[in-house]
């Protein structure tokens, strides 16, 4: 197929007429499909149904250390759950706090606490004139909403396949004391599926922030969420690397089992240095008596150990892999060589990132919607919902059944073509 960018006006118009006819056919089908969010599909949820059986009315809900999981207490999580999630997060089990069902909530509370009480004795951010966060873009919309909610100014940092632009990060962080944090999804990043290179992680660990209360918000959401057995991204472990670099307190590391067991009914965790954990527990002890230990125990009994969890993730991969491959195959087949878009080919995580011609993303998403396919809103991957180039679209292949996914992706490529032609014709 000829590149759209090399077509004459007449060729584009002819192509457009053909595409519009196809588009009307899609519209006539009254589709109602959703590729908006990184939700596991029913088959994935079914994988964890055994979790409903591991505890029953005759079970002993006592921990190894004698704690009755049914009663009050244990602020930082039962030992067994600390061990399991520490193994998952590749940190020592005495450097972790087990929370409730949502790592997003932990991140929110972490920023909220810094606003009201500062970080390890620093001035509460709410007392400062200006607080800024660095935001690698495209990124995760819910991160950006937290910082926006607290009035924190967000600065875009371009992402590369190696991670955020570290020259820019190092420069800004070392010069500007009002920069207090950076949002990172270091592995199978949301939405691009990029994993930070070894060098990137090492440079992160060696940052020399002007602000003592600067922290890296390391949301390792997809730490064991591989698509393949033999092609897996590997990440230098940031907590240990920070320690080696003489920066032990630089990072908060977040994770959860939301996309391992059940979203909304999993367990979340935060790993950090002892200094940070002590600081956090001062607040946590006021906020709650403890999180859901029965659910912690349920997870431990279901997975057994990290090996059990890894085996479980292979089953997730078996379900997700064909979906990712189907999307990538259609993108390549329909858009390859047309010069109207680029996309990532992740080996894990939940997303594929698509970049259209500049100024087309909103239009593409709107066209999809009019034909019954809901995509993540264009712009959502940028702070304040503003993609300066209006080109990034997040594709979430996990939720729809494969048959729906194929239709939705084909429609998506059709919409990309139509938008691109209009764009090219308007030049």
């Amino acid at each position: 197929m000829k590149k759209y960018t090399e077509m004459t006006k007449e060729e584009l118009l002819a192509e457009k007429a053909e595409l519009e006819a196809k588009y009307r056919e899609y519209q006539a089908r009254n589709l109602s499909l959703n590729m908006a969010r990184g939700k596991p599909c029913v088959e994935q949820l079914n994988l964890s149904m055994g979790m409903m059986d591991v505890l029953n009315a005759d079970s002993d809900l006592t921990c190894d250390d004698g704690t009755d999981c049914r009663n009050y207490g244990v602020l930082d999580g039962i030992k067994e759950a600390q061990e399991l999630l520490a193994d998952m997060m590749e940190v020592p089990s005495d450097h972790i706090i087990i929370y409730g069902n949502s790592s997003l909530n932990v991140m929110f509370d972490t920023v909220a606490r810094s606003m009201s009480h500062g970080v390890m004795g620093s001035t509460p951010w709410s007392k400062l004139d200006k607080v800024k966060f660095l935001c690698p873009v495209p990124g995760y919309d819910r991160h950006f909403r937290i910082t926006e909610y607290f009035g924190i100014e967000m600065i875009n940092i371009p992402m590369t396949p190696e991670g955020p632009d570290m020259d820019m990060v190092e420069k800004l962080v070392s010069e500007d004391e009002s920069i207090k944090g950076i949002w990172c999804v270091p592995k199978y990043s949301n939405p691009q599926g990029y994993s930070y290179s070894d060098l990137t992680v090492r440079r992160f660990a060696r940052l020399k922030p002007a602000a003592k209360d600067f922290r890296i918000y390391w949301d390792n959401a997809y730490t064991i969420h591989h698509l393949y057995d033999n092609e897996q991204d590997n990440l230098v472990e940031i907590l240990a690397e920070c320690k080696r670099a003489g920066n032990p307190d630089l990072v908060y590391k977040f994770a959860s089992t939301s996309k391992i067991s059940f979203p909304g009914s999993g367990i979340a965790a935060l790993a950090s240095s002892n200094n940070n954990l002590e600081d956090i527990k001062e607040q946590l002890g006021v906020q709650t008596i403890g999180h859901d230990k029965v659910n912690q125990l349920r997870h431990v009994r279901f997975f057994g150990d990290i090996h059990g969890m890894i085996e479980h993730m292979r089953k997730h991969a078996d379900i997700l892999r064909p979906k990712f491959e189907a999307v990538l195959e259609i993108l390549e087949r329909e858009l390859g060589g047309l010069d109207i878009g680029e996309w990532t080919k992740p080996k894990g995580g939940y997303f594929i990132s698509f970049d259209s011609l500049e100024g087309c993303a909103k239009d593409i998403v709107a066209r999809c919607k009019k034909a019954g396919v809901v995509m993540t809103g264009a712009g959502a991957t940028y702070p304040y919902g503003k993609d300066p180039k209006d080109s990034n679209i997040r594709i979430a292949p996990s939720y729809p059944p494969l048959s729906d996914l194929i239709i939705a992706t084909e429609l998506f490529t059709l919409c990309v073509k139509l938008s691109s032609i209009n764009k090219l014709l308007s030049k």
Copy 2:
């Protein structure tokens, strides 16, 4: 027995010698008993073990409205859980948000949000020079810790058997714009077990606060936690009463199933006006994608409806009643008529409140501890841990087995006598 206050010095010294001998006997027994916190006992926890069986690997975890409880979503709780907890809280089911496992966490977050973002558009409290809360005393230590954590000044309001001193509450609230809230445990109050009279609730609903962002923090922790079938305290429902009084937005009402199902693995809820709920959801939608819906469903399937919950609470009562009665019987037998202490006789809740002679509480608790019985720290029932009269002690009969409870209470009365004699001798 003669009143201690009417004994001669010689009589007191003779009594003291006898009591000290007994105290040494207790010390020799190497006791290790705990009456410190309102924790359910093992038999109570066992009542809910059936909850581990209601969901199994073959269960359909779909709600009536088709929501798959295993996946992301539903910010304010599944409909069935809203209905169950609304019935429990005596509010309409569209005036409620279902949260995670801890109502304390909901209260913390409510204060935290008011600090950072104000209440329904008011100035964030963190931007104000001074924020104050009224604290009926004695009260719940964890309430006071939340307000203390946020640097909110706490003002003691004396409790009466009818509830807080409403003359004082009305006066302060109407005069001082910096007063933003009042902590209330309106039914079977912590620690006295008092329930607010109808008139008290009506006066609460008719408050005319100087501050638009003043709210009543109505922690209805013991709403269905009766000890008796036929002698139950009843409370005017505050939300409806506020509406009738033209003050619909005046109250946040909190509750949880912590002492109904499992502490730490129950579900919590907040009920309020639509205006307040909208205000809250703006933050909640940034903080989380949703709470644990599988656990919500588990509670609904286990209890069925409010009737099932009420029947369940009778079983709790059957376990708790003998414990309360044993404590009261010992207090009466050992201390009745001695004129050295007063105590409450609640019909529900988790505590008995004891008031010693002035200046004796710390000493009594310390003596208990030296003989192996841990009580709630003296002063804990007051803001900043400061009981101005050093006389209030909270007795928590729920956790120890009855046999231990009897020993612990007998020792307690012995310590009360010893402290009182020393106090009287020192005059």
